[in-house]
Symmetry: C2
């Protein structure tokens, strides 16, 4: 059987879920596929490109371009896309960290910023501001999910100190995320109205 | 000379700035101080606690409690505290990552969430919502500065692929950060008015 790029990314995602980002090496990946490390480089240029391909896989379902325009209002679209992003990042071990690092390294092909910018533009924000506003929403999503995922993973290892407060429930994280997004949506709405005056 | 906890944290911050988070080990720290690794454990319980002390040092100037109430309006206070946080995180190599990881691990003593919650409460948001709204602002600050710092560090290593677009200037990052904060402030203002009706 010929090794394909899809096989390589499949195996990398499986290793990520089992061992986490710190233990995802090209050597371990080659071993899990039963090939020499050199064989991987036909499919991915280096570790950074591999992580970019893993990030694309994580993001694909949440942020793939849609076939037809959604009938929802812009605010419902923005909340839905941001919520789908959070779900996608939380569904793989270290998912938020992999995606954040790959976005910073410009290794992500899935147009996640565009998917967030579209409803912001539809809200009526100027072309100049729609892009940075969408990036701000993305930064919030990454910051919130990185924190939530780190806490969940540390909790599951039992290494968090007892700080006297009850451990935050996942529902608190979801509610806090929803409140943060609502503040963004209201902020965008306020800004559009101010511009219209 | 007796080794103090301050000496240990000073040396850890110096190593962080010189080598980055990935190369900050207890062994390297002991070597830089000219002591046996075991001597460190009189001052910090483990690596996680050490990083928490480093995070506290990074945050201290930006988020120390203030002696007297500020005469500024709540929105000016929120923008100032969030801006000071960004400056503090960017002023040390991997500063955003160290602080984000230490906050998730509950190893930070500096009351950074409280410093952000104070102006949000002063704005008139309910007690129930002020805490999660402040956490959302903190998540935005962490997400934005982690991304900005990763890009700066990758740029300085010359390892970013040429994506056809001019490299984003630091002023763009600062402007995007300011726009994101403004959307939060306007969102909070809108929410307070809606609650008052």
């Amino acid at each position: 059987m010929q090794l394909t790029r899809t096989d390589v990314v499949d195996a990398a995602v499986a290793l990520l879920d089992e061992y986490g980002l710190a233990d995802l090496s090209m050597r371990r990946l080659a071993t899990s596929l039963g090939v020499a490390p050199g064989a991987l480089y036909w499919h991915v240029a280096n570790k950074q490109a591999l992580l970019g391909a893993v990030a694309d896989r994580i993001l694909l379902r949440a942020a793939a371009p849609e076939d037809r325009p959604s009938p929802e209002d812009w605010d419902a679209r923005l909340l839905r896309v941001a919520g789908a992003l959070r779900d996608a990042l939380l569904s793989h071990r270290d998912g938020a960290e992999v995606v954040a690092a790959s976005l910073a390294a410009r290794q992500v092909s899935v147009p996640v910023r565009e998917r967030l910018a579209e409803p912001v533009r539809a809200a009526g924000l100027s072309e100049d501001e729609a892009e940075p506003a969408a990036l701000a929403v993305l930064h919030f999503v990454l910051g919130a999910t990185t924190d939530e995922q780190s806490r969940m993973q540390l909790d599951s290892l039992g290494v968090l100190p007892d700080d006297g407060a009850p451990v935050a429930l996942a529902t608190d994280a979801a509610a806090g995320f929803a409140l943060g997004l609502t503040l963004f949506v209201d902020g965008i709405r306020h800004r559009v109205r101010t511009l219209e005056r």
